[in-house]
């Protein structure tokens, strides 16, 4: 009479036991790792836009300041994207027949706005105020990356809570002098820790309450 359990039954039983112990931890680890991956955070993902706007050409090539278009960034919580009229300040005279710019011309002609796909998205339970960051010495490229080299706009940082907190816990590592906020070429100098500490004092940044919940979750 053959054995009820073949020789490999031992292996199966041992594997199931090991899996029972290991899989919960492995599964949890996989979930945590996935939530931090680019797939979920959207980092480095280039979104499709109605017009393939090139920051590399306009900022890097032509030297436009960020504030020419994103004019609300120094005063308002939202930086915003420019109205169609801003595009037409130049494109009523340049590239007036290009097919790529047809949506812009149609938008102006029909008085319908352009529906841009938001790249740097935050959840609705987060309150983010651009103007205070600009006022306190955080430059555009610190969070938005090398925008002047992006031929198509993408999210350059994970924008997770942990990423924000890393700076809120120690802003000195990311501060820059007030005249360099909109400088796309700025990189932290070798003595950033020392410079940053001085800047934090000059900007009146108080670390004690920067990580309070209600700063961002209002």
């Amino acid at each position: 009479m053959p054995q009820l359990f073949r020789p490999y039954a031992d292996t199966v039983a041992r594997s199931v036991l090991v899996a029972l112990l290991v899989l919960p931890f492995a599964g949890t680890a996989l979930a945590y790792w996935t939530m931090r991956s680019n797939y979920i955070t959207g980092e480095t993902v280039t979104l499709e836009q109605p017009v393939p706007f090139s920051h590399a050409h306009h900022v890097g090539g032509l030297g436009l300041d960020c504030r020419y278009c994103h004019f609300g960034v120094e005063k308002s919580p939202v930086a915003g994207v420019p109205p169609t009229r801003t595009c037409m300040t130049c494109h009523s005279q340049l590239y007036t027949q290009t097919a790529m710019l047809a949506p812009v011309r149609e938008s102006l002609a029909n008085h319908t706005p352009i529906h841009w796909n938001k790249v740097n998205r935050l959840p609705d339970y987060v309150y983010f105020d651009h103007s205070i960051h600009i006022a306190k010495g955080v430059g555009c490229s610190t969070c938005h990356g090398p925008v002047d080299q992006m031929r198509l706009t993408r999210q350059a940082a994970p924008l997770t809570m942990g990423w924000c907190l890393a700076c809120h816990r120690d802003p000195a590592a990311h501060l820059r002098p007030p005249d360099k906020i909109f400088d796309t070429e700025w990189h932290p100098p070798a003595d950033q820790a020392e410079q940053g500490a001085k800047l934090a004092v000059a900007y009146h940044i108080d670390n004690k309450h920067l990580t309070d919940c209600s700063v961002c979750h209002r």
Binding site: G27, T41, P113, N117, K118
Partner: protein
């Protein structure tokens, strides 16, 4: 535990969002910060000087204008409630003929037809209905 892991993996990151800016932005307007206008609201034919706070073109608060000699910065109940009439969601958004939405051109055609009749009578039957005008 397993359902928690499954749910975490199934949440697909950030939902797509759109930014829809103006085509022609009203001057001095910055999205996100309120703009205050000195204006007048009429009650019974008389204007009351008020200051209206609006965000992106939507009025949210009516306050008195301290420089107005009649109110010296105060408002009455009707002023405070006027926010609801300024931004009334029940207000018609399109031309209507009876209960159906019609085009502006249909309205103009009907109006012109009526005006032709009035022209024949030298406007004898024409009346203009307004609120109280002083």
């Amino acid at each position: 535990m397993a359902s928690g892991v499954a749910l975490a993996l199934a949440s697909c990151g950030r939902p797509p969002e759109e930014i829809v800016p103006y085509v022609d932005m009203p001057e001095r307007l910055t999205p996100g910060i309120p703009l205050r206008f000195a204006t007048a609201l009429a009650l019974g034919g008389y204007a009351r000087g008020v200051i209206v706070t609006s965000i992106e073109g939507r009025p949210i608060k009516v306050e008195g204008n301290p420089r107005h000699p009649a109110s010296l910065g105060a408002t009455d109940v009707f002023c405070e409630a006027a926010v609801l009439s300024l931004c009334d969601p029940d207000r018609l958004k399109a031309v209507r003929r009876g209960d159906e939405i019609a085009a502006w051109s249909a309205f103009e055609a009907a109006l012109l037809a009526q005006m032709e009749q009035e022209r024949a009578r030298h406007g004898a039957g024409l009346r203009i209905l307004t609120t109280r005008v002083t």
